[in-house]
Symmetry: D2
């Protein structure tokens, strides 16, 4: 059987809406039946038609109307996917939770940690699932890394070094400013942090998912580059980190790093080995045990864990990418929902939840505070 | 609007069936409404249900019945996708063409060139589209290479060096023999060639699509490795090639090359530059102009051709893979069909056709002959 | 003509002594005629013999004796190379300067900045050359980077991200402790800093040589990993940096990063382009201009600057390495000395000097202070 | 003690002469005392002076004079290094052998196999050492590969795929023609083969040294590219190979492959594993055991064989290159000579000999014949 779901956003040409949709239906666990894709009703209907929604009564002019009517239908949606700009995540998610509908939301969860905590509390109270699409956690080799670390293959973790440099903002600043650049550089829609909230939070969550470590303290430095442009939000971020047990970390994220497209890189160093994964080659995990040659792990191989193998849809050597990583997160969410709500068993997979989202917001808030106070250590 | 299509094969767990299905629907240009997914009627219905076919009357126990009934319906399928073992391509494609239904077929087109030529003639006679899923031709950077070569950026082509090593057959020979290994090593189902027909033909087609060059002569050497195992079909193939105007080429394909998963690599050398693409990093095109530093092209950039940019669905740096390459081929096919049959314009994209399939069969036949006669030059 | 030189150290099997010797003679600009290679007179003579010194009168039992006697000879050495542990650099260099002999010294210059300043003052006062073997500055592509940045090819520098991870200390801690590990972990011989003084200073100097930027402030965090081992000196170092004009930087150096051998990596981001160099592939410079494909520069090509080309001894594609980088530094030093002292012109090449060494010591001192005070900003 | 040696050639700015010289003296096993560096006596003396030869009586105007006089001296040279164009190797080597002087010669050994055989016979008869500088065999990781293969780590060899593409000839054809291009394209000086003799022979020897396999048959195709330029010698070569026991191989060498500098690549596939080495990253050996992750071996590590470790002069991660590979070949030759002639033991190392040179010439001759007869199989 398939779950029924609806979408908020995705109608205005933003690529991420289509990624949500594809991710949700990839494994035939869900079907798009409803939506509020755009505030413009013409675009709204157009998107609905293009995406194969046959019943136009289920295409709504507001998310409030959608939550109300869908929750009232016997065949109403099982969950909603939220793919709108950051500032709207909170009210939309809150509204659907209040109407008893499960939620899958893009990151960051909200603009401030207190909003996020309210959402988490509400989900708990209503006993509803609340997933977050921290995309990079969906890659097969990230799961492989997680399980190798849990199994002690790199020993005790000594330090973590991660980075996520991009160049797109600088590229766009010298050419035209796209919609993407506009809202991401607008504090009203993006929130009080730019680069840190947009991609720093991806790094923070990925580290947690790969290592199990939680950030406890940060010392952050934000920059708006080039300095002569009086930009509203930071686009280059340096962070020193303390995790549980005082384990150290270092994070660099940037949107003005020419030559880097989407180059998330994470390296975890233990006292018996090290693991490295980068988004540029998502099917590669570089694993080094002390005093042995580095090994290049790839997906779907006998030497991978069963869980890692379960996250690939193609034989070894056939590249899977960003769409499939999204699909893996939706698969986890849908599988749990199918089991809880309908008793259907489709396997069990991890996915990031509202708790990860809340921690991400606390992380962002702590970074903002550390930077504002002159780069001092701040508790998360 | 969406085209309606049906599928033959894909029900027995072979991954390629699902790749066809995802490729066909990826851009909302087609909808799966019918199929004959397995000879086992239970599996057949199960697949239909899983893949969202609501009308079980359109799930058939034989392709002949499907061709007959679908061609008789007013709302019958616009095209059929054939994703079955090699030996069945010919009769199935023939049957659907005879019933006036357009065809998308996996490679190789048939077991022998004469069968392929009959299909090509039939398609021409009936004025039907006949696409072939030579997957690798669907990658964005392959299109970029093609257009840079056409524009003269590497000058006159001097030589082409290509390879497609895999290890899977050897890996499977030392462990269990999967279904995949079984039918691909069975001459009755695979045809008289193993490795050359399975992956050599991919290389041949990719060279043609990237360079515009046609293979005119081959000198081939086939091997069944390890030699002490008395294998039925070759799994290591060395080919010297002459293209148009006597331009030389060299092709190596193998299914017993440990350390190589799906490592298609093509290098084209001209008198003013060179271009290199490999499947392992499908988003990278290495372009060198004479006496200049090599440049690393990636998709969706301003410096790419408009056609190349049109083949990506995500911003730069977000990995796309095998599914999307399939999607690009289906998009080309569906766009042409939508235009021809319904006058709907969705843009124009290349895709491999039955003519490419016929040339591929002639290439395989010539290689078989060259090898049989002791590695002499044979005309294609 | 060839300069005559002597060496201090190098006799106890430390590889760096032999690197100095080879570097000094590589281009036939100097000849080893004297030395005090070891405190052990047997080893001392043995080394002298192995290294082709014919006159054993010029093999000395102490550096003081050597300075005295060589400065008294008419055919005395033109310069001395110092390749001993860190704590001895200051007295040895001071002694030779006082005897009017030019000096080439390994890094770091001394244990403390005030010692370094005394050496710099003495060299100025005596009008003697004082070179420092910051090895990485000797690579051809580092020079190419420097000149491209000077020429404005990457625009104004926005930020610098550099790292130098090694694993050797951890590898040795789990096996035997070599001499290398012993003295480098001994504060009496290494000084008050371990990893920062040993390799952090290489990074600091390389950034200066590639970009022209000087470190003005640091915020540093030192760690002794694994924490349960009560190690005397830090082996993992995180540094935030402010250069001239408030330009930011980030440096990570480690001796406990499994999977990294000698992986110095430096990335310089400007508003028009970016440049990346890593020691693992010293013949490659990755240069990206904004919105253009990254380019892979290699040495000895027409597109390189004349100065870059002058630093290679082999045609393109023939790997040169660490010995040759040392050779380039010695070539610069010897060429200047030949010109100043003998009027012989062998071209003009950069090399790091005592001033660079002093700045390196100030950088180390500031890092030590910042770490001690709880990771606050400290002026250099 | 040090051997005394002389050199023929190297005086006219050809880089390879200086590589011989550095290689010979690198480990303090030999000392240059004599030479005939150029036919131009001015250049001859100039080179001698630059290279530190103090006794000008031992700088000769002809190799014949040198052989005669040096063999007559009590303190005459122990061996001669021949670094002249191909056509002169035979007469020079013959002359020194006849005067009882050991020989180290650049490749190819001679222009024709019969000349080579005469030299081999003469060396045997006179009981003289005769080394050949097949450079690539001197890299540490090549030795590591050899020993892993001998130890059965990749099982039985199934096939070998090797290539050596260069671009320099094409680059020079479009700019000025250097001396290098001139003599290498001149059949009188280079012999009847261009690319095959110049670099094909490197590939052939490297395969033999890494695998132990001997080429028994070849099927070769030579091309002179671009075809409209009427070039005297081939510069693009395709070869199919049969080794012992019918094991297959494939070799491509080219001097007109834009984007490739000195990119020798060799891949050896067995039934239990595979090994890959490329000159671009000489310190890396990629080793894959069947169904395990590929491993990246580097030099000087505990997991390397003792012989491999003996071929590095620096700690792990410090790049060594072409000079040191030459040095390793000279070390092997000098160590054997020191032992045989003077009873001094400096360890034991492999190096290529006149027998390898003879086999290389037979290989070239067979390739020439195969190409001339229309690409048929020819016995070596």
């Amino acid at each position: 059987m398939r779950l029924k779901f609806g979408m908020i956003g995705g109608g205005n040409g933003a690529f991420i809406g289509d990624v949500h949709r594809h991710g949700a239906v990839m494994d035939d666990l869900a079907q798009l039946v409803s939506g509020c894709f755009s505030r413009n009703m013409g675009k709204n209907r157009e998107t609905a038609e293009k995406w194969g929604i046959s019943d136009f009564d289920r295409v709504y002019s507001s998310y409030q109307e959608m939550a109300e009517k869908e929750s009232a239908r016997e065949d109403g949606i099982d969950f909603v996917s939220i793919a709108t700009p950051n500032d709207t995540h909170y009210p939309i998610a809150k509204c659907f939770l209040e109407h008893g509908i499960h939620v899958m939301c893009d990151k960051p969860l909200a603009l401030h940690a207190d909003e996020g905590e309210k959402l988490a509390a509400l989900a708990r109270e209503k006993n509803l699932l609340f997933g977050m699409t921290y995309t990079y956690t969906g890659y097969a080799m990230v799961k492989q890394a997680r399980q190798m670390i849990e199994a002690g293959e790199i020993g005790n973790i000594l330090t973590v070094v991660a980075e996520y440099p991009q160049e797109w903002l600088l590229v766009q600043m010298v050419s035209d400013r796209s919609d993407q650049a506009t809202w991401r550089m607008d504090p009203e829609r993006s929130g009080p942090s730019g680069c840190c909230a947009d991609i720093g939070t991806h790094v923070e969550c990925l580290i947690k998912k790969m290592t199990g470590l939680s950030v406890e303290k940060v010392l952050a430095n934000f920059e708006k580059l080039p300095k002569d442009q009086e930009l509203p939000l930071e686009n280059n971020v340096q962070i020193l980190v303390k995790f549980d047990h005082g384990i150290s970390g270092m994070i660099w994220t940037s949107q003005v790093a020419i030559g880097h497209e989407t180059d998330l890189l994470i390296r975890i160093f233990g006292d018996k080995g090290a693991i490295e994964w980068q988004h540029k080659e998502p099917a590669v995990l570089r694993v080094t045990r002390i005093n042995e040659p580095p090994r290049i792990y790839t997906p779907t191989r006998d030497y991978d864990t069963q869980e890692c193998r379960g996250l690939s849809r193609l034989p070894s050597g056939h590249p899977e990418g960003f769409f499939e990583a999204f699909g893996n997160i939706y698969r986890g969410f849908c599988a749990e929902l199918l089991k809880e709500k309908y008793g259907v068993d489709c396997g069990e997979y991890d996915y990031p939840t509202v708790e990860d989202g809340v921690h991400g917001l606390r992380f962002i808030d702590a970074c903002i505070e550390s930077n504002a106070k002159g780069n001092i250590w701040v508790d998360v």
